[in-house]
Symmetry: C2
Subunit: 354 residues, 2 copies
């Protein structure tokens, strides 16, 4: 990893300010600019970076909302003729198409970037230098990007504690349409159905629908922009999902059980394609349900027992039971760890349900 | 809560055997029957219940797969002319329609039941008397059910540690179509799309799609039966979701940002209608991300710190980062607890990210 030289971050929102914070912590000289001067002042105060005052710049990071990114990249390519220029927008194709229309020079110095650190909770809590720690950060080159430019952005990503994943622009946009944008649309639509439902129906909701629509809580303005920038691939994918749902409804209406089973099995296999933790197969894990008094300390006691039994928890989930004073905790562990964990928990008085 | 009298459980799968176990633990005299004599022998051995040998029965619980339930209820109404009869199938209307076609006597003694203790993991681990602890159990009467019959089933539910929720048959079936069956279909279809995708796309998958399709891992044979029994309401609801998805795709294609935002906002509001933990509003919580070395003991240490700070965790989620040796843990706590928890964690050396 090479040292990052003078860096200009354009746009001082959550992502931009977090990048500035992370870089200044490594001793990198960082400059900030923003069209909103009070936002800029606040970011300067928080980050230890300076307002941009005309120094030579080696790296420009455009961290503004997607709609303004292409213009700012094009301008940066002129203003900073030696700098590598990257961005952090969650969609890449629309930006590069706009750059083409703008007749941008400096293609070899322009590298698309996308840190996968988004949360459904919006960034009101504020910027942090370690926001990108252990997150994936896609680096998407155009076909003229130089190797040196890619290497510089890779250094940026790694110095912020993230890990780089290399994709073409089209691969990136198709991939996020499938694995991020379409799930958002589906979750939002499914959650929207609850608005038309009787309250007494919703009371029966369990963990299943709760997980399925969790991301429906996302910020609607931000997601309008994200979805609009990648609308072509998303619309294709969402239409395909809708048609498959209509097929499913037809199979149900026609009493075609064979077809229903096939569609459910396809879903089983699709889910199995998701990467497991640390690349391990998901199928080597099993799930245990433990009953817990819902008071401070019980979870700590549970995990202390797991640690003493030398069992690593792959996942933890707390089930919410309607109006009940106790909780059910679902622990995902390696298959072979079940026989260690169950007796250890029971010996400490925990009720292991299944 | 009154004492449960002699009970006959018909069907010795996971649910039936768990009911038998839970009741015998309370000293109830339980009898079992099953058309599969080796399954029956195994259940007798596990549960402490006896094979049915002709004694007087006060309560019959039919716990067989949905397709055979109506016939067995009708037969029980004749064989046990004084008994209250209930079942545990996850769909109710199709069973009562079949009972009507069979010309069943004893309507006043028949009460539908549905324990909401299902998991996407199938029940291979075996029956447990506490399977229903703290779970909702819907009691669905027909319009001739006697109050005494409902009271008996309520006693059954409460003696197993579950809590009763009262609904009509139609309310139950429409509700589960909306909050359980349609989410299953949607998750299965969305997961199925991953079968047609490039592996390099799937590698970018994060927590969002992982949650959205979690229940796509469900048992396909069991769910074929469940969905088929409630196909009318599910097909309606799934078709409506599909049409709303097509509307969404049109809004994206037409660049209608106002409509896109409206649909996302509708999803925000729909999600907010889900009951919070213990009936509290979801909006009074906030989320904290903590970095953790992925080794036994670190979670225990984290929860010990939370307990010592007297902070109750509403939810816990472990983020999986592709190929990384560390983990990110998302903690949901009451808003005002954030200011207690963050400094407490940092004082113990944890990296709090946002």
């Amino acid at each position: 990893m090479n040292e990052i030289k003078n860096t200009l971050v354009i746009g001082t929102g959550l992502i931009g300010t977090s990048i500035a914070l992370g870089l200044t912590a490594h001793g990198v000289k960082v400059f900030l600019s923003d069209i909103d001067s009070s936002a800029l002042d606040a970011a300067v105060k928080v980050s230890g970076a300076s307002k941009y005052d005309g120094e030579d710049i080696a790296l420009v990071v455009v961290a503004t909302p997607p709609a303004s990114v292409a213009n700012l990249i094009a301008k940066a390519a002129i203003d900073h003729p030696l700098a590598i220029i990257t961005d952090v927008a969650s969609v890449k194709g629309s930006i590069f198409r706009e750059l083409e229309n703008l007749g941008t020079s400096g293609w070899s110095r322009i590298v698309g970037g996308h840190p996968m650190a988004g949360r459904e909770v919006s960034g009101a809590i504020g910027a942090q230098g370690n926001l990108f720690l252990d997150r994936a950060w896609v680096i998407a080159s155009n076909d003229q990007t130089s190797e040196a430019a890619v290497a510089t952005v890779k250094d940026l990503v790694e110095s912020l504690g993230a890990f780089p994943i290399f994709r073409t622009i089209e691969e990136h946009d198709r991939a996020v349409a499938l694995i991020s944008h379409t799930p958002q649309v589906v979750a939002s639509v499914l959650a929207g159905e609850l608005m038309d439902a009787e309250g007494s129906y919703i009371e029966l909701a369990g963990q299943g629908i709760r997980d399925t629509i969790r991301i429906a809580g996302s910020d609607s303005n931000l997601w309008t922009e994200i979805l609009s920038e990648n609308s072509h691939y998303i619309s294709q994918q969402v239409t395909q999902v809708a048609n498959h749902l209509l097929d499913f409804a037809s199979a149900l209406d026609g009493g075609d059980r064979k077809s229903v089973t096939e569609k459910l099995v396809k879903g089983n296999h699709g889910k199995d394609r998701l990467p497991g933790k640390h690349g391990t197969s998901q199928q080597s894990t099993s799930t245990l349900v433990v009953r817990l008094d819902d008071k401070p300390g019980e979870l700590a006691r549970l995990f202390t027992v797991a640690a003493q039994a030398n069992v690593n928890l792959e996942d933890v989930r707390i089930d919410h039971s309607l109006g009940q004073p106790t909780g059910l905790v679902e622990l995902t562990v390696a298959l072979k760890a079940i026989e260690l964990l169950t007796p250890a928990l029971e010996a400490e008085g925990f009720v292991v349900i299944s």
